[in-house]
Amino acid sequence: MTQTGDRHLDPAVDYPLSSRRPDLLHTPTGKHIEDLTLDAVVAGDLSPLDLRIAPDTLLMQAEIADGAGRWQLAENFRRAAEMTEIPDERVLAMYNALRPNASTGQELADLADELEREYSAGRTAALVREAADVYGRRNLLAAADD
């Protein structure tokens, strides 16, 4: 995942992005935030995908959170940026797989691999691998079928 580069967002200057830096805000479908008007809705020009947050926007919010001293929140936004590409149903299924006693160690390892391979979601994959390790130690993995 690319970082926000040399934009150097300053929480005191650039936040809220919606009013201070609308120039930076686009939807994942490439529309500018100012294009999301009622007339566009009525004309049928907008789809639910046009109301999604773009990964780059989450990285900008991460930079702002970091700037405000909130590194865990920033990390959450960086994982979120990775997850924007994952379809809704798959996100729900992944969440369910992370519940206690829901997955074997192998299934969680496969999930982490999928996150990395399919979605370049390295941070999220690391969270899943860490969970697999803890679940193993605390006896919270599902028993393997064989």
């Binding site: 999301l36 929140l73 994982r79």
Partner: protein
């Protein structure tokens, strides 16, 4: 006492009889039983603070070796605690830290540099050294957002969307920044969540709404833009209770990122007493376990937490110093720089005096959301099992705000405005139901809904048809955008604009930052651009200007120039 004053057997004093007839006698109280965790705070069985860091890893915390860490210990050690701050902060005396937290001259930022390095047991020691007034002093400074706000419940015993729309509109008009609903029959959720959204945006554009459901369903409604934020993402303070809740800190952290990935604001929920109520407190105090929850929320990177015992308030409420512990848990959330929606949201006492006293530690200093939520519907219609505050109390709340000049987020609104907005909300919902081919809302329902206090005053709906339609909303893939289009088509262009503004916010992600709400003009107000700057007398948030003039208005206020007349 001499033999002649000995009371006659079985004879009661009139005073005792009067006292025994008071509502407080219906409340439940129990002795402390620390061995099972039936103790609010100051338990002899809570661990002593300690920390040992080797090669950048916490290898011992609060007397426990890393190899013995349960999953909360490990998550807190690896994600919540800032190791670079830990050794210096842990070396300070807890009472010294507490003194700095209370002292208005020590800036909030300096406190955050310390608290980020503290273990659960140390945070416990810090707040245990404070009395309730010191806790309030500290909260005044540590609350994340400068301007306090409030949240309402809008539910219906019959899951009647008409009622929910009307009460949501009224609550929004009265000043609540967030609206929350939940269900009797869970399958009703799509229709009730739509009603909440439409009603809320009619009452005041920019209010944000949520529907409390099982985690996965709640996320789905959010993803579709039918709701705007989520709150009931529960975490617990012992591993066994966490697992009973079918989650772990890692699954919850994943969920937090899932919400953010869709641009949806979210906070976790926890509270003192949940572990002992669910039967496994591991012999620790309620406050110690709650502090572990707060640190899990911090470590997960979620922006905020709803705490303050919440649905378990009867448990800390029954033991000594329990309500002080509840105030302390709110403070710890704020000390860890989390948004705090501070409870006061479940009925816990029959005594009006006790209900009021219980809210003072949040109302007086101000929190991000003083009540979470305040019932916008009568007790019988409150599907969260009743709140500590009801619509019948609206004028009491407004008067307390005015008496003490404290901002609890609400305002008095004249009846004609209330009726107008209720009517408009139901008609807007009527248009949406018609536009989406949902079971019709009749004019009789509109009329009854405008004037009703509770669900029994509304015509009954065809529940089976509604449930079929609710399923259809999910199957057909209806989203917030469809609501916008239906509102516009039905002639409610202003409400459609309001809802679109809220939906657009998720594209910017501004609402994801700590303690974010939307103003009347849809500008975001969060702990970044409205950061708490309290630094002692004359500083920080104080009601002033237009807001203070608004707070002065009540239902009956005599005119100064003409005492025969009431002020409009």
């Amino acid at each position: 006492m001499t033999s002649t004053d000995r009371p006659a057997q079985n004879r009661r004093s009139t005073r005792t009889e009067i006292i025994e007839a008071r509502p407080i006698q219906l409340d439940g109280f129990v002795e402390e039983w620390p061995e099972v965790g039936m103790i609010a705070m100051e338990s002899p069985y809570d661990p002593e603070p300690s920390i040992r860091v080797e090669d950048g890893v916490i290898v011992e915390m609060d007397g426990r070796e890393r190899s013995d860490f349960d999953f909360l210990d490990q998550f807190i050690a690896d994600h919540a605690i800032d190791i670079s701050a830990a050794e210096e902060a842990m070396a300070l005396d807890a009472q010294e830290i507490a003194a700095r937290v209370v002292d208005p001259r020590v800036p909030r930022q300096d406190i955050l540099h310390l608290t980020r390095g503290l273990t659960p047991a140390k945070l416990l020691d810090v707040v245990e050294s404070m009395n309730v007034v010191e806790i309030m002093m500290a909260m005044q400074k540590m609350r994340a957002r400068r301007t306090p706000a409030n949240q309402a419940h809008s539910t219906s015993a019959r899951d009647n969307p008409v009622q929910v729309a009307a009460d949501a509109a009224e609550a929004a008009l009265r000043g609540f920044a967030e609206l929350e609903t939940t269900l009797g029959i869970v399958r009703y959720a799509p229709l009730v969540a739509i009603a909440l959204q439409v009603g809320g945006q009619t009452g005041r554009g920019g209010v944000i709404t949520q529907c409390a459901l099982e985690e996965a369903t709640e996320l789905e409604l959010g993803m579709r833009g039918i709701t705007a934020y989520a709150e009931t993402i529960s975490v617990y303070g012992t591993e066994s209770v966490f697992v009973d809740g079918d989650d772990t800190p890692w699954s919850k952290a994943f969920l937090a990122s899932a919400y953010a990935s869709r641009g949806i604001k979210m906070r976790f929920t926890s509270g003192t007493g949940s572990e002992v109520q669910m039967g496994n407190a591991e012999g620790k105090s309620m406050l110690y376990l709650e502090i572990r929850c707060i640190q899990v929320a911090k470590g997960a990177g979620v922006q905020g937490l709803q705490n303050g015992s919440i649905s378990c308030i009867g448990v800390p409420g029954a033991v000594p110093s329990g309500i002080r512990a509840v105030a302390a848990e709110n403070l710890v959330a704020s000390m860890l720089d989390l948004e705090c929606a501070s409870g006061n949201d479940q009925s816990f006492s029959h005594s009006p005096m006790r209900r009021t006293a219980r809210t003072m530690p949040q109302l007086l200093p101000g929190t991000d959301f003083v009540v979470s939520g305040y019932s916008g519907v009568p007790n019988a219609d409150n599907m969260f099992a009743g709140s500590n505050w009801d619509p019948e109390d609206y004028d009491d709340w407004n008067t307390i705000q005015r008496d003490l000049k404290v901002d609890g987020g609400l305002r008095h609104v004249a009846e004609k405005e209330v009726l107008a907005v209720r009517g408009k909300a139901i008609r807007a919902l009527q248009a949406v139901f018609a536009g989406l081919d949902l079971p019709p809302i009749t004019d009789e329902e509109v009329d009854a809904g405008i004037y009703a206090h509770g669900s029994e005053e509304l015509p009954e709906r065809d529940v089976l048809e509604d449930l079929k339609a609710a399923k259809g909303v999910m199957d057909r893939g209806i989203t917030g955008l469809d609501l916008v289009a239906a509102l516009e088509k039905g002639g409610f262009r202003d409400v459609a604009e309001n809802l679109l503004h809220v939906l657009r916010q998720r594209v910017s992600g501004d609402l994801l930052q700590t303690s974010a709400i939307l103003d009347g003009d849809f500008s975001v107000r969060s702990a970044i651009n409205d950061a708490n700057d309290y630094a002692g007398p004359g500083t920080g948030y104080r009601p002033s200007g237009e807001r203070w003039e608004e707070m002065k208005r009540l239902r009956h206020v005599l005119s100064a120039s003409n005492p025969e007349q009431e002020v409009e």
